[in-house]
Subunit: 819 residues, 2 copies
């Protein structure tokens, strides 16, 4: 998804505002975005937070809790606001983790004193597990609800159940006695709209009536979806994975995981999927699970108050999302590890696994597919594959890679167009037009009319003799039962299959085109299912082709020896599966997690090798066109400050080349440890917009003492002026440990050592940037000071690094928008 | 395993030598160990390495490659030895990774110049994959060979095949026509020793003869094993996982992964397993795979020359080891990630998975089990489990946790005894005594006579009606076929089963006791199988108990509703599996990887929940007694410098409390950037044994310029004295960028800026130690300098941190032996 404000012109304003070349400025970027219509995203005035903010408890504590002239001990009772973050800012992982360790240490020490404290310590230790259990239960239940609702509404586009309108097609016909195996989806209780309105299901009139009703429902659903999103939760659109990646890397987007986003995303996801648009619900389920986790975090102080700890829970929630989307808990955990997480300590791995399992089993006990299966696409293949088949599998990998690379390029180009031209000003009309076009073109072709998940399920399926699907329209061998041949043996294609192939080919082209336009609209939209559908169609086509080739040419060298007549040598369903993996891999550049998800669908280790071959090829081919996956591409498009952990920094620049101030710029704004007055500090802070200031021994020596954040400085001075007697502009600001002597008539000093970071990170000016980038990534730094021979020289922020990287890649360094 | 030198008294010497309280001294610890009898561990004189060392190519380049008076550019042609490590030292990850990035950058830049360079660049990029392929193939093949040989030799203890002595029992009877299902392991071609020697298989005489032969073979095998290990490769003993963990964390143990270790370990592993000792081959297979990887690394410059890159390959090899041990590639990768790896970038994850798959399929195509199964224990359960059963599963978890904690305490106590008393001086006798005791007690009981893997396999197995095993000695229902009841329904226990249960109970006690003594002897020995065997026996006993309880008490509240008469409600095999997981978890403290390995054995997601419940309980229970797993305990026992990545550092000390020099110690030994002569530097270096020296601007300012390693300094000065004209003791040593002016009559200056690390890591004295420890872990530092207000104050090395941690935990800080 894009940043939800693009329709209002807010982006452009923001863009220009970000143009001035200051280091680490805190322009509260979001404030210029047009979010004011939602209560999820409050006006971002300093010190005020919405209910989902990390400092809700600090606000609750209120200003009254602070004594008047008493100096505040930073560990015991920090000033409200000190140590919190503003919206659209990057957190300092080191500080957050250190805070949590302090908290933990305190609890452990107290636990020796009394039984109550001991119980508190134990409950604190287990709160993480309890939270995981709750996240799993809630996300599993929500996913079940979404599945059931989407099923019902998808069927509603085609007809209604007479026994009760709340039954979906399959459900409706369960109670029917007349259902035979072949016609299990036809029963008198289920009426198509034509039957209901005109009383007939035959003839062109009925067809047109059904067609019309299909389009009307689709438009209604998508209109509702886009309107709800725009009205109540602009953050609910898109897949959410790029933003979650950014949030997990330490960025703050208030309200992105709030309760309104959750409610609206859940509802509109159902609507969007039901409208028949070429999108899936799997990606957005990750967002839904993360919202659940974020909301549940508020039940536990440990997680509510600490941004780093909360991100551990969110990492696990991402695993939960994939686990319920595909019924693949191990794959989900690996997805979280490989794809979205930034910090993923091993403790989180185990907890994620637990949460993913709970969620998967919650979903299964809800049983939305009515078959007690854990997995979304249950496949069971019987025939082994042969080494020769690796060639077509690798071909599918190449196709997947090409599709992935082209899709990303096309989709990003389209999104950029939407952002920069008038196209983006009419999101509702855009959604309606795309829905209408999709419905118009999809209805006549049965493979596009069915939902993406159904299509994939059918394509993965291996044809048994009894299968009535068109895809299994093979010519029946005359005497199967007599010859005793394998009932799944390769057979010649019949009429039905040829029709199916043509329809599939058309569906392929249609899906490829429409998905590019659909992903990025202002409705919740996932990419997993559309990508997999494209790959599954291509794979099935190739599979049937191979099958027929082998059937008619048993004597060819490549088939000889393993594909005798009457044997089941080619499984077209397996080709579909390999194709789906290849295309999904090309788009997202997932590797291990993708293979493991697919493995969990089949449950057979044998098929891992084809999947792996295709995924590897697909990644290599796609990487040759550009190393970014779709999520990274969208992160870059939106200018989020995301420092990619996978790519090595290859340029040979040094820290001195990246740091600010640059040569010729004015000197770095610093505070001295005991030489400045309150007035001077205020002037310095107001004349700049740096988010923090180094403190040095003296301007001459430039020896570094510590680092003070702008926000903490402002809050503290403000507080001291109001509540501490005698603090005036002429008061000295003192950062030293011992109060320096001063003339007796001087005003009292303002001691601020407690808000100073005494252990700022430093690198020398000669440090290669690859090492510096490594430090930023691994430790989760927000800024780092640069010294030369022990003297402070400059500062490097995360934004500086991202700008530098953009410059090296010949991109606009000002495309990085946030701090 | 212990450090192989304990028998020679070398340990004690080392211990005292490590006693003096100097910071980061380079005592080449291993030099005092008695390795001189093996060619795998060469005498550790400076500059000389065995063929497996990282600098073999540097040595090949020779001293002749260096021009006489020409100053050497550090990037192009470093002095041989500069930038390499001595044995038993810790590597600097940052430097190694930076070196690799430089190399990569150079290749990328050159690739634009010519086609050859482009091809070189491509082949360089793919060399990692090729290496993985080779590692997978080699490790898979070796594991197959080990399996086959161990099978054959285990059977050799009981008898021999007349068709050819190289057939094992099962193989021998394959060709027999007389084999019925019930007696498939009895055939005329297979003769027990009594039959062969005395011509009879009945009566007490034959029994005693067989007994005797069994013991003789066992003694022969174990004698060969221990002798070979002692004679050729002392590093080949034990499981190897503690050492591999330490190596992966950045420690150097030359020869530990060399070709002699590989050859001897492979042979002696077969011997040790065949001797019937209570040990498994699964852990040592990880060591074998790592040896393969290390040896194959020498084919590729990229990996041969870079310690950090090589460790990426070793991480993958650990995954390969588990993959071939259990036939569980995904579990193997997670094992490597969770248990042994230190740095595990995502690129490695994907490659590990590839290598693990290759290895698993290589092993399967060798087909050592003769059943085309990928997994070691193939289990297929049919009955679902019920929620009530979680109670016994959690009970098994508690048992596993208790066993794990007690085993670790007992085993460590025993190993310490072995190390400190005369017991350790007679390793061969020890092995022979334990083997004799094991064989004596194991033979009469069929469950201890069979190999551990066979035992586990039988315990996991679910009884079908036709099963002839004693464990399936249920009373047959009179009319199974008539009533049409489930053929696997719960049945009352019969005579055979009661006998089996008694034997199992005895086997449990025997295994518990003997494993404590066995693990740590001077033969290759894994812990996976013995631990799993203990758990599987306990689980099976509980499972059968539950089954009988349910059979006779259908009407109890807890059974009502889900366990009606004639239903298959309890699966004792599942209990065995859960018990095995719990015990293995208690000993190793594995979590996710353990559950995934077990999941891969069954292939059914349903059984994950019991496994998870038991593993979680087991870990919590065991952690309550001590948070170390068996591998960490052995690492500590051996004093390796391993900085645990999983545990949070909880103490509230600051960097200033840990750094050297301590208050009252002599000042830190520093070099100045242009104020010292060669003679002064040499005096300073010789009067201390620090492994590196900070360089400051001047002794008065103490402003830090850089850091020089002792080894590099010595080599460079030595080289300059020999080859650079005019370098005498009075020559000034200069670390500055520009040569300072000096009187014309002064001797030429020695410029050493190229060996100085210009970007040493620094923290301030107020940095909390939890953050410092985090930095050390995440960046893989070897040392870090401490500053106060821009002035150099001291230094913290990895050893200082480990000593500090030992002190906090009330352990002897001098137990950390190496740098």
């Amino acid at each position: 998804m894009e940043n939800p404000g693009y329709g209002s012109g807010g982006y452009e304003g923001l863009h220009h505002q970000g143009d001035d070349d200051d280091d680490e400025m805190v322009d509260i970027a979001g404030a210029t975005l047009d979010f004011s219509s939602t209560d999820d995203v409050p006006p971002l005035s300093s010190g005020e937070y919405d209910e989902h903010s990390s400092s809700s408890s600090s606000r609750a504590a209120g200003m009254n809790g602070i004594g008047h002239t008493k100096l505040v001990d930073p560990l015991e009772d920090p000033l409200p606001g000190v140590g919190t973050y503003e919206d659209f800012n990057t957190i300092d992982w080191v500080r957050e983790k250190s805070k949590d360790r302090d908290r933990h240490r305190e609890i452990t020490n107290k636990s020796r004193e009394s039984t109550v404290a001991l119980l508190h310590s134990v409950s604190d230790a287990f709160s993480g597990w309890l939270l995981m259990l709750l996240v799993g239960l809630m996300a599993g239940a929500l996913a079940g609800g979404i599945d059931i609702a989407a099923h019902w509404m998808t069927d509603l586009k085609e007809g209604v159940c007479l026994n009760g309108f709340w039954f979906n097609h399959e459900h409706c016909c369960w109670t029917s006695n007349e259902t035979t195996f072949k016609e299990r989806d036809r029963c008198p209780q289920w009426k198509s709209w034509a039957e209901l309105i005109a009383g007939t299901s035959e003839g062109p009139f009925a067809y047109i009536l059904n067609y019309l009703m299909y389009i009307i429902w689709a438009l209604l659903f998508s209109f509702l979806a886009v309107t709800l999103v725009r009205a109540f939760a602009p953050y609910a659109c898109g897949s959410g994975i790029p933003e979650i990646k950014t949030i997990l890397s330490g960025f703050i987007i208030r309200g992105y995981l709030g309760k309104w986003t959750l409610i609206i995303k859940t509802i509109t996801l159902v609507l969007a999927v039901s409208s028949g648009l070429s999108l899936g619900k799997e990606g957005p389920l990750v967002h839904v699970a993360c919202c659940c986790a974020n909301i549940l975090c508020h039940l536990f102080t440990k997680y509510r108050k600490n941004e780093a700890k909360r991100r551990e829970v969110l990492s696990a929630a991402a695993a939960v999302g994939v686990s319920v989307a595909f019924g693949a808990p191990i794959g989900g955990v690996l997805f979280s590890l490989e794809e979205v997480s930034y910090y993923f300590p091993l403790k989180t791995l185990w907890r994620s696994f637990f949460a993913a399992l709970v969620a998967a089993f919650t979903l299964r006990s809800i049983n939305p597919f009515g078959n007690s299966r854990l997995v979304l696409f249950y496949v069971e293949f019987h025939a082994p594959w042969h080494l020769v088949e690796l060639a077509p599998f690798i071909l599918l990998g190449i196709f997947g890679g090409l599709w992935g690379a082209l899709f990303i390029k096309a989709n990003i180009a389209w999104c950029r167009l939407r952002k920069t031209t008038r196209l983006g000003h009419y999101p509702v009309i855009e959604v309606l037009v795309v829905t209408a076009a999709t419905a118009l073109m999809a209805f006549p072709n049965s493979y596009t009319r069915m939902s993406g998940a159904e299509l994939i399920s059918e394509l993965f399926n291996d044809c048994s003799l009894l299968d009535s699907s068109q895809l299994c329209g093979y010519k029946q061998p005359a005497n199967t039962s007599d010859t005793g041949l394998d009932s799944l043996a390769d057979r010649p294609a019949g009429e039905g299959l040829y029709t199916a192939l043509w329809q599939l080919a058309l569906a392929l082209i249609f899906k490829i085109l429409i998905t590019v336009i659909t992903f990025g609209m202002k409705v919740p939209s996932g990419l997993f299912i559309p990508s997999m559908a494209v790959g599954a169609i291509a794979g099935r086509l190739l599979g049937v082709g191979m099958e027929q080739l082998a059937y008619y040419n048993h004597d060819w060298l490549i088939f000889r020896g393993w594909c005798s007549p009457g044997a089941d040598c080619i499984t077209p369903g397996l080709y579909a599966m390999v194709g789906a993996a290849a295309c999904l891999g090309g788009v997202t550049r997932m590797t291990v997690s993708l293979v493991v998800i697919m493995f969990e669908l089949t449950g057979g280790l044998e098929y891992i090798v084809p999947l792996m071959a295709a995924t590897m090829t697909s990644k290599w081919v796609a990487d040759a066109f550009g190393r970014e996956g779709i999520y990274e591409a969208h992160i870059r498009l939106n200018g989020y400050p995301f420092l990619e952990a996978k790519e090595e920094f290859q340029h040979s620049s040094l820290a001195v080349d990246v740091m600010r101030p640059r040569r010729g710029d004015p000197a770095l704004a610093v505070l001295t440890q005991d030489g400045m007055t309150v007035g001077e500090v205020e002037t310095l802070v107001e004349s700049t917009h740096f988010s923090g200031f180094p403190v040095v021994v003296s301007p001459e020596s430039q020896r570094l003492v510590g680092f003070v954040l702008r926000r903490d400085l402002l809050i503290s001075i403000d507080n001291a002026r109001k509540r501490q007697d005698g603090i005036v502009s002429a008061s000295k600001v003192v950062f030293t440990e011992h109060t320096p002597a001063q003339p007796p008539e001087a005003p009292p000093q303002l001691r601020l050592r407690n808000i100073m970071d005494l252990s700022p990170f430093t690198v020398t000016d000669h440090t290669p940037m690859d090492i510096t980038v490594d430090i930023f990534r691994k430790l989760g730094l927000r800024q780092c000071l640069v010294t030369h021979n022990g003297r402070l020289l400059g500062i490097i922020t995360k934004k500086d690094i991202l700008k530098h990287m953009a410059q090296i890649a010949n991109r606009d360094p000002d495309s990085i928008l946030f701090n």
